[in-house]
Amino acid sequence: MSKNLAFEEPVVQLREKIDELKTIATEADVDMTSEIEKLETRLSQLEQSIYANMKPWDRVQVARHPERPTTLQYIEAMCENFIELHGDRTFGDDAAILGGIALFEEQPVTIVGHQRGKSTKENIRRNFGMPHPEGYRKALRLMKQAEKFKRPIICFIDTKGAYPGKAAEERGPSEAIARTLSEMAILTVPVISIVIGEGGSGGAIALGVANRVFMLENSTYSVISPEGAASILWRDGSLGKQAAEAMRITAPDLKELDVIDGIIPEITGGAHRNVAKQASYIKECISVTLKALNSLNGEQLIEDRYEKFRKIGQYTEV
């Protein structure tokens, strides 16, 4: 593994030691099987304890891992015949949001998701997965198209947020996001949203007005990035770690707050360690959820989505 994270250090070191020992054992032709076995047991225990006790900030690091699988990787692993469709028909095609039609277990579905790049060059083209207004307008266009042809919609959320730029502001990011929110509310087809990486702010929630919302175990979903929160609250962007803890942005936190419907387990160490296996977990979740939602008609789907969001919020009545 090339890019290890700080909290994983003990695991990495132990694994390196074992590899070393194995090399020595073969080269010197001595039997160290029992030692190696002992160490491997310790390694799996250590992995268990480290990955089972991840702090919010650790999860932020995993969610931001440069090799974390993207929307497109999951689509390719889960679906057949994905055909990408481009453009908002008004201004342009935003590569930070990707959409199209695919066959999911032989059923046509529309898939829309934020798309990060895998390399610097691709990241520049895709603006690091931070959409401009035309990205949301494309997303909504494809959702409306899905509705016309009665296709379920699957959204992947994976963005630091909508892009804060001059050109973006000139084209109305607020309106683009707000319209997506209110139009998604009245879609007559099933909508499932899954947070696969970072779900940051209004830019994330614009793909989140779904009948069911899931998060990958190590993804985050928040009103603002931890660094952004720290800079607003304490005027110090370097306090991201503290903000990550105070803001409650992890999948278990959101489940507890009743904001999401479920958590999709991750491969030990993070989704990037086995994309195909991770995709199969996601596929299973979508498959079960779609079957459940397919029994609802259009009106019931709208009502179901409405009820879900209507009750979110905590306050007292005196």
Partner: protein, 282 residues
Amino acid sequence: MAIRSLFSKKKEDGQEKGFPEGLITKCPECRHIQLTKELEKNHKVCTKCDHHFKMTAQERVTYFLDEGSFVSMDDHLQTSNPLNFPDYVEKISVAKQQTGLSEAVLTGLGTLDGEEIVVAIMDSHFRMGSMGSVVGEKITRAVEKAIELRVPVIIFSASGGARMQEGILSLMQMVKTSVELKRHSEEGLLFISIMTHPTYGGVSASFASVGDINIAEPQALIGFAGRRVIEQTLREKLPNDFQKSEFLLAHGQLDAIFHRKDLRNQVAMLVKMHTKGGVQHV
């Protein structure tokens, strides 16, 4: 928060020596010194340069609705501390004392030139008008009331965006309010959004932008991301008019800008044009 502190500082400057506190006010734009009484008579618009001062929710009620018609709703909803965020409870209680409001929005029923309407009026003096659970819930309930009574909704926005201390719950209020307004819209009812200085972030990217008619006050700053954030991202200075209502109008994002001296009458006229009903085609 930055805008607020900037503003209050200038207001303090306005208290010139030798005058009882509050008797005169200096305009933060043109530095013109005027009697506070004159300023208030002019709906808090500078008598010299037309700068629109911020208004409290209570001042908006007085200015906008028919006298004595306003009935406040849902003041019994109180902010809790769902994330156990440090210092949050204290900050809310200070804001309550400073403003006399229970939260950053005042909602209720009233009449505008005789027409029954539901209003929600945000107040940026309360924690920068930020939206948490109570603000979202109050606006949603107000819209529900409007659906029940089949009357128009008018919302005055003034907000820095979503409230940090309630985290994801604040973000979800964007959905809750927008979805409720969509229901109102599907009933064929009118929603006029009036954006005042400042309207940003989670408020501008939700209910404030989905009006049948979107209006702003002159020179109001309205946007998604704050100017400072954009300047840091781009590392370049932005033009002076950036994100001002005139800039938004020029970029096709607003229906109209109304000067405060005309706002009430123009909105009342729009409401009448909608409640009268369309042509009945046979």
